[in-house]
Symmetry: C2
Subunit: 231 residues, 2 copies
DNA sequence: TACATTTGATATGTACTACATAAATACAAT
DNA sequence: ATTGTATTTATGTAGTACATATCAAATGTA
């Protein structure tokens, strides 16, 4: 049997460390006991003894949960369960340089999907004031290009404002995190292309147009990106 | 000055532990040296000595990076940088029970946004075979309710298939993670409501209809959820 | 009694040591 | 050339020790 086949059939044995096990164990423990935010956890020593591992291992596992914001620790008081920032952990990993190309492409498409799906919530929440601010941003953007960096900043300012207009903080933060990826993928293209519908056009649609018109306008605006998608 | 103002102005001093600092330090180190996946890292002892902390602290920081999939460790060989699973960390935190209500609502809307934005990529990639499979799923679903659990499973199967049809693995996994949240928020409503457009209707649109018709159909299908959104 | 101060106990944070274990390397043997 | 053996090295785990912050109780004071 060829070596490649062997690798395919067997693969490396996943060797889990005690810290891995304890992390999982703790997570299940928290779930099982249905701890609520603010509830106190047993001390590190108690956990270590109960699990039959060294305090060291417990601390490595706790360190992970702490990073995710699932627990907070105070000296003497002990540890309490808290409500994690769900995007915090995400943020740590979103570096274009360490993400594989396939996933980068996926994220690129994910962002396009969000952009095309915004219209409904946007039209539910947009205010006159918001549109005025968006217009100000769009007008400050000279269509005559001043280089790649300037163009990308424009994009960020404009689209970022649109997300903020939805009033959805998680969504806004999320798209903000996706921006570097998006920018990275765009930077790979040789000749930057611009859609037929400009930012100003979109603002005008937001003023008088319907949801459907806005969606159509956004599609046109993003057309160059959609055109690059592979079937 | 009232106490609340004080808290607002000053806030608690964020007491960062050495592990926090080392984690950040390591992350910057990896970035600065522009390590690529597969590259070997210094040993724990070397890192500890260089940073002037105990090996213990270094291990707590490394444990976090290991959880995120940023590094892999093998005995004797040492540590190597690897490409993290960007959704892996996300998954760990997505428990409806520990997320605050405001964020739950945000995620609910995020999922609706994705659903409404899918049409373009879906129409780019859908195949005849996919539609047939989707139809099979839709037809196996008896519209006469068999209880909440059955209805939710139907939703998951059908919409899950739609996401898979986009060929975007990250997107598919992402929505799969959002499902528990979505289900949880829905379960809070007293009287379950069903949109005018059924799954079978959506399949039929996919067969013959346009992108815009599909989007309109999806909007109708999700109408009960959209109606619950607050302005 | 009410309030301020001191003291003690406790849980986390950090350091250090020790050893088991796995794995790469070199070398010997069949 | 493949297999077996010894050595070395880095991680994985255990355990001890102590600093530090903080809660709680005890003590002192008006």
């Amino acid at each position: 049997m060829a070596k490649n086949d062997l690798i395919k059939d067997l693969g490396p044995i996943a060797q889990r460390t005690m810290a891995d096990v304890v992390e999982k164990e703790l997570r299940e423990y928290l779930k099982k006991k249905s701890f609520k935010p603010g509830d106190a956890l047993p001390s590190e020593n108690e956990l270590a003894e109960a699990l039959g591992v060294s305090r060291n291992v417990v601390r490595e596992a706790l360190s992970r949960l702490r990073m995710l914001g699932m627990i907070e620790t105070k000296k003497r008081r002990g540890m309490i369960l808290s409500t994690p920032d769900i995007l915090g952990s995400f943020e740590r990993v979103l570096d274009p340089l360490i993400i594989d190309d396939s996933t980068l492409q996926d994220i690129f498409e994910l962002r396009l999907t969000l952009e095309m799906g915004l219209a409904d919530i946007l039209y539910l929440r947009k205010t006159k004031k918001d549109i005025e601010e968006l217009e100000a941003i769009a007008k400050s953007q000279d269509p005559r290009g001043k280089g790649q960096a300037f163009r990308i900043n424009n994009e960020i300012a404009f689209h970022g404002k649109i997300y903020r207009m939805t009033g959805n903080e998680t969504l806004t933060r999320f798209q903000n995190m996706l921006l570097p990826i998006f920018g990275y993928v765009i930077s790979l293209e040789k000749v930057p292309q611009i859609g037929k519908v400009s930012h100003i056009d979109l603002v005008n649609i937001l003023k008088d147009g319907t949801k459907e018109e806005f969606r159509q306008g956004m599609l046109e605006h993003l057309k160059p990106h959609f055109n690059r998608l592979k079937k």
